[in-house]
Symmetry: C2
């Protein structure tokens, strides 16, 4: 599927969004080229690591010059497959779902919000982001007729697994999971967890150091 033959390690992949962010910012400031050393000082990494990282998927730099910001950004965009569009739905129209629905950045990068679903009769019918919240009863039909690629789960822990099973059975292949539990999904489904409690606990650890 990927258009880059060299395999990129997961450690590097996890850093790519950050590179992408910094390169986008540089581009907005009309900066055309940057050296690994400059980028390192900007991002708080070592120049060596940056060169290793960027070289794991190709020779986008030029000796004595550095990296072309726009070119490198586009390359990373391709690796992260942000040059395609994704249809997504948010499940759970509470505050978290609402917050995500308003992320302008998602749409800008090709992740299109197609629907928001909830069980609460008070939430159903309200407008969240750009869409009207539908009842969960309509979920099955909606996924089937809208080619949904990504489900963003913003539901309570108690129902997280149930919902995950439901959407994967309907063909959703990617889940961005805000529910604080680990999901059990088929092997062809990918899950990315955003566990806020875990982050808080890492913070309390660091505070105690």
């Amino acid at each position: 599927m990927h258009r880059f033959s060299k395999k990129v390690s997961m450690t590097v992949v996890k850093r790519l969004p950050k590179y992408y962010q910094y390169l986008s910012d540089l581009q907005l400031n009309d900066i055309e080229k940057i050296s690994s050393r400059e980028l390192a000082s900007l991002m708080g990494l070592t120049a060596s690591q940056i060169r290793q990282d960027l070289n794991s998927f190709g020779g986008y730099g030029q000796q004595g010059y550095g990296y072309n910001v726009g070119e490198l950004k586009e390359a990373i965009k391709e690796i992260l497959v942000l040059d395609s569009e994704y249809n997504c739905i948010i499940i759970g129209g509470g505050n978290m779902g609402h917050a995500i629905a308003n992320y302008e950045r998602f749409k800008r990068e090709g992740v299109i919000l197609k629907g928001v679903f909830d069980v609460d009769p008070l939430t159903v019918g309200t407008v969240v982001g750009s869409v009207v919240v539908k009842h969960m009863d309509e979920l099955d039909g909606f996924i089937e007729s809208n080619e949904i690629d990504i489900a963003i789960l913003c539901v309570p822990r108690e129902v997280g697994q149930k919902v995950a099973t439901q959407v994967t059975e309907l063909g959703v292949k990617g889940i961005l999971n805000f529910s604080p539990l680990d999901l059990d999904v088929p092997s062809d489904v990918v899950v990315e967890n955003v566990n806020i409690t875990d982050s808080l606990f890492t913070l309390t650890y660091l505070l105690g150091e």
Copy 2:
């Protein structure tokens, strides 16, 4: 500061919240002991890794028996310094701030929400979580008189750095940062980032694999 002499690597620390979660769940189900093998299959890790991890901060296991769930949980709780209380504030009373304010889990683990702040006149005065939203103008005095340990930043990217600087100057030592930018803070301040866009981009990568 830490009551455990052996140093715990950051890789392990990042896994501790997950151990803590699973052990809490086991305890709720009245399970008293567990072996590294059982826990491994539950958590999707290897038994060897679990033994290494747990052994990096002490001998909580017993040969031929396994680990005592309650005891191990309490040990991890101490390492994560979840046996103390923290006063926290949320800055930004939008949907994200609202969502976090309603996380019951935070209070249960000793992270007490003392205030929510916003600049929007329509938000100021509304009730979020257990508190009434105050205007940002009141932030300085509030932090000084309430011994705030943690600031949870749910503000737009444009003002993130400004707010971070403001709270650190007032003595806040920990920031849970939901604003999509890297914060520049004094070296005695710790930041834990929750970057939702980065997580989404990791997901699009995985979808393309």
